[in-house]
Amino acid sequence: MTFRPAPARGISGATATALDRLPPGVLARLDGLSRRVDHEAGSVILREGGDTPYLAAVESGRVALRLRVAEWGDRLTVVTVEASELLGWSAIVPPFRATVDAVATEPTRLREIDATALRELLGTECDVAAALLPLVLETVTTRLTGSWQQLLDTFGPREFPAW
């Protein structure tokens, strides 16, 4: 007995990376700035407060974005990033520091675009900026709205006045 849907049935997931949505010309220019890197499970990809050395498209695997919560003596995973998503938007947003720890929770392959070169390209190539920035904003927006949902859960009203 199988419950698996046939390919492309129902709500089918995309397997492409986020960058594959860019026009071929833009993608070609980014190719020159990028490299594929494999991260082992448990490896720390970004450090909260540290420089963000690249903007990356996750090709496979899973990366946990974690906040340090000192009084819990632990780190809290607030979101995970997977294939078809971007990692490291802070590479192109001042002050270019990571806002979370990014830790691979399973073997993960990233396509990393060098931050310095990318910022320079964005400053000079309007068509690259026009194509890439919406993708980055989409990522930020998704994280933002996800955070709002979590805030509702954390701080939502629990009691109402009796009258």
Binding site: T2, P5, G10, T77, F160, W163
Partner: protein
């Protein structure tokens, strides 16, 4: 504007002898009351109490309010003596409406409705109270009171569910109505098409003249009553005076309400700034709902003995103006602001009532205006919100009313009765009896959630469908609605999160405990809608419980469906439900995509809100039927994502949470627009819900 001709039931002769008028002189009025008493009836009539007119038990006819006259204005209700020697000083009923109407006698503010007792052997006894039929006679009911009674007949006894207490009290009620000879400044029954002429609902109709009454019988019981009195025929002149008198009352009615298209106009203005203005004045004191003769919302008040072995539940009047009315488990309220509650009241009364019950919920008695401590005039608010100016023109009735009138049974030639809307649900699904069920296993799911396996041999419960719920009674606690999480050959499973006192008690039960269940209730998941289609089941947190039975049924016959996918969200990894079951299903090949909102470092699965599970998906959902349950905010976000993926709204199904106290659409708590969630849902399609899904404060 549709102008309603002034109806009258008065006639001196004609083919229908019921309409033939008699004359009851004041000197023989006692004979009428004596005849009612002789039949063993309690007789209630208007009397003066605490400076106001109230319908109370009559001990002698001298208690009637002879010579009193009411005057009203927004926020003002006065009762004064008529000057000695004035023409109407000797009249008993020429004085305006009683503040209470007759509702306290047919639908008392508090009645015992249920008792739950645990015996020494642990067996549970649940008794639904049904008062014995008590013969009652109401003397002095007004046209608006009778219209309200007809509305209550529809709401409380017209099905699909029937209030047993109301039905019992209504069984042997005899009504002697009096046509109004006085309209106070807050009366607007002519606008609402309910008066001042008494055209239906009374057994005997009186018109008070100087020296006596013109009387007619409108029913067999009324005819028998008048025949016993052997009254003479009324003089033609007296009948004409009665007709002119009530016509003059109609003509003297002041501010009118433009009812044509009112429901549509009102519901088109749900975001009017006027709601905020009213909220500045409205105290949410609930006076308007307490004096309203049609308001029927009730709550359950449970009292228990100290040992917690026996308790009783009383059905008490409640009001949609109180903060707790729309409050749900966990403390949230769907109508936290005064504006939400006033809007709910007004739009229900004048708008959604039509679709639910086939009539307006307002009879134009004006009590809500006079007894509002800050003088909010509903006529003024309707004109301001629904976009038509105040008028003093001829009264009208909604255009739809003409259609109802054409098909309604005619009691008196030229009159109409309030229309009866068809029942929305088959009566068989609305059960009022409780049956026992024994806890045979308790499985802790999370720190605050347990699954109870209950054994019962009740055929109705065993025939429950996924998505339905049961009311769960145990001594000393409120009776919560609980979704059925699994239907077994020998019973049910209920997965209960400890969100309040009752659910905390239930979630901590041990095997051997006995409960009483009422149900199954509500509309199930329409599994047949998914046949041949791709099934997407989307659950957030405890929302997986009502979907578990659906999942069981879908996976029992997967060939009926093109594919099955399960999308799961939970607050944290420790809040996931049915973990072992889900893991087993994954091992069997079910496509399960899961996420949690936050997690510690030990969690290696996905973290993020549930909509992220659909991230990057292609818009290939046209053949998908989705079943969604979770917090309303989560469902709203999922609905957006599914729409982006082309999942049709008519194939996207949700189960809603609202405060459900009665489970059968009688208490009013779970109203959402034109629906009662317990009775018409809790499962709805997104297409059915329309804008109501996201409407704030609804």
């Amino acid at each position: 504007m549709v102008t309603q001709p002034a109806p009258t039931g008065w006639a001196t002769s004609g083919p229908d002898s019921r309409a033939a008028a008699r004359f009851l002189p004041w000197s023989r009025f006692d004979e009428l009351i004596d005849a009612l008493w002789a039949d063993g009836r309690t007789v209630v009539a208007p009397v003066v109490e605490d400076g106001a007119l109230k319908i109370a038990e009559l001990a002698r006819t001298s208690e009637l309010p002879f010579g009193w006259v009411a005057s009203t204005a927004p926020g003002i209700a006065r009762l004064d003596r008529r000057p000695e020697g004035s023409p109407a000083a000797g009249r008993a009923f020429d004085n305006g409406t009683a503040w209470s109407g007759i509702k306290p006698w047919t639908f008392p503010a508090k009645v015992e409705s249920l008792s739950v007792e645990s015996g020494a052997d642990g067996r549970l006894a649940v008794r639904v109270e049904r008062p014995p039929s008590q013969p009652l006679a109401v003397v002095g009911a007004r046209a608006c009171d009778l219209a309200a009674l007809a509305i209550h007949d529809r709401v409380l006894a017209g099905g699909p569910a029937i209030d047993p207490d109301y039905a019992s009290r209504r069984e042997d009620l005899l009504v002697v109505a009096v046509e109004c000879a006085l309209a106070t400044s807050t009366c607007f029954c002519a606008s609402m098409g309910t008066g001042p002429e008494v055209t239906s609902g009374a057994d005997v109709v009186l018109s008070e003249l100087d020296g006596g009454f013109v009387a007619r019988a409108d029913t067999t019981a009324g005819r028998h009553l008048l025949e016993r009195l052997e009254l003479p025929s009324a003089e033609t002149e007296a009948v004409e005076r009665a007709t002119r008198q009530v016509a003059a009352t109609r003509a003297s009615m002041g501010i009118a309400v433009e009812t044509e298209g009112l429901p549509e106009r009102l519901l088109a203005n749900l975001e009017s700034p006027r709601w905020d203005e009213i909220a500045e004045r409205c105290l949410a004191c609930a006076n308007c709902t307490l004096v309203c003769p049609t308001c029927f919302c009730t709550g359950m008040t449970v009292t228990s003995d100290l040992a917690g072995r026996a308790s009783s539940a009383a059905r008490t009047w409640d009001s949609c103006f109180t903060a707790g009315f729309a409050q749900v488990a966990g403390g949230g309220s769907f109508r936290p602001r005064h504006r939400d509650r006033y809007r709910q009241w007004l739009t229900h009364k004048f708008g959604t009532w039509w679709e639910q019950f086939g009539s307006s919920g307002c009879v134009g008695c004006g009590r809500c205006i006079a007894w509002c401590p800050v003088g909010i005039d509903v006529r003024e608010e309707l004109a301001a919100i629904a976009g038509k100016p105040l008028t003093t023109a001829e009264p009208s009735v909604p255009a739809d009313d003409a259609a109802f009138a054409a098909t309604a049974p005619v009691l008196v030639p030229g009159t109409r009765v309030l229309a009866i809307a068809p029942a929305a649900v088959e009566p068989a699904s609305l059960r009022v009896e409780y049956v026992p069920a024994t806890v045979v296993d308790v499985h802790p799911e999370t720190a605050d959630t347990s699954t109870l396996r209950l054994r019962t041999d009740d055929p109705a419960l065993l025939a429950a469908r996924p998505g339905q719920f049961v009311m769960v009674a145990a001594p000393a606690f409120a009776i919560p609605p609980i979704s059925i999480s699994r239907i077994r050959p020998d019973g049910l499973e209920l997965t209960i999160r400890a969100a309040g006192a009752a659910t905390s008690f239930l979630a901590r039960l041990r095997p051997g405990a006995e409960l009483a269940l009422r149900g199954p209730l509500g509309r199930p998941w329409p599994i047949e809608d998914a046949e041949g289609r791709d099934v997407a089941i989307v659950a957030g947190g405890i929302g997986l419980a009502p979907l578990r039975g659906l999942l069981d049924e879908v996976l029992a016959a997967p060939d009926r469906f093109a594919s099955v996918r399960l999308y799961l969200g939970a607050r944290t990894p420790r809040d996931r439900l049915f973990v072992a079951e889900i893991d087993a299903l994954i091992a069997r090949g079910l496509d399960v995509r899961a996420t949690v909102d936050r997690a510690g470092p030990e969690w290696l699965g996905r973290v993020g809100i549930i909509t992220e599970l659909f991230r990057g998906a292609k818009a290939t959902g046209a053949n998908v039927t989705a079943f969604v349950c979770g917090p309303e905010r989560m469902m709203s976000a999922v609905v957006d994502v599914l729409a982006d993926l082309d999942v049709p709204p008519e194939h996207t199904w949700l189960t809603l949470e609202r405060r459900m106290e009665c489970g059968v659409g009688l208490c009013g708590h779970c109203q959402l627009g034109t629906r009662f969630v317990c009775r018409d849902g809790p499962v709805f399609s997104v297409a059915e819900l329309g804008d109501d899904l996201r409407r704030e404060g609804l």
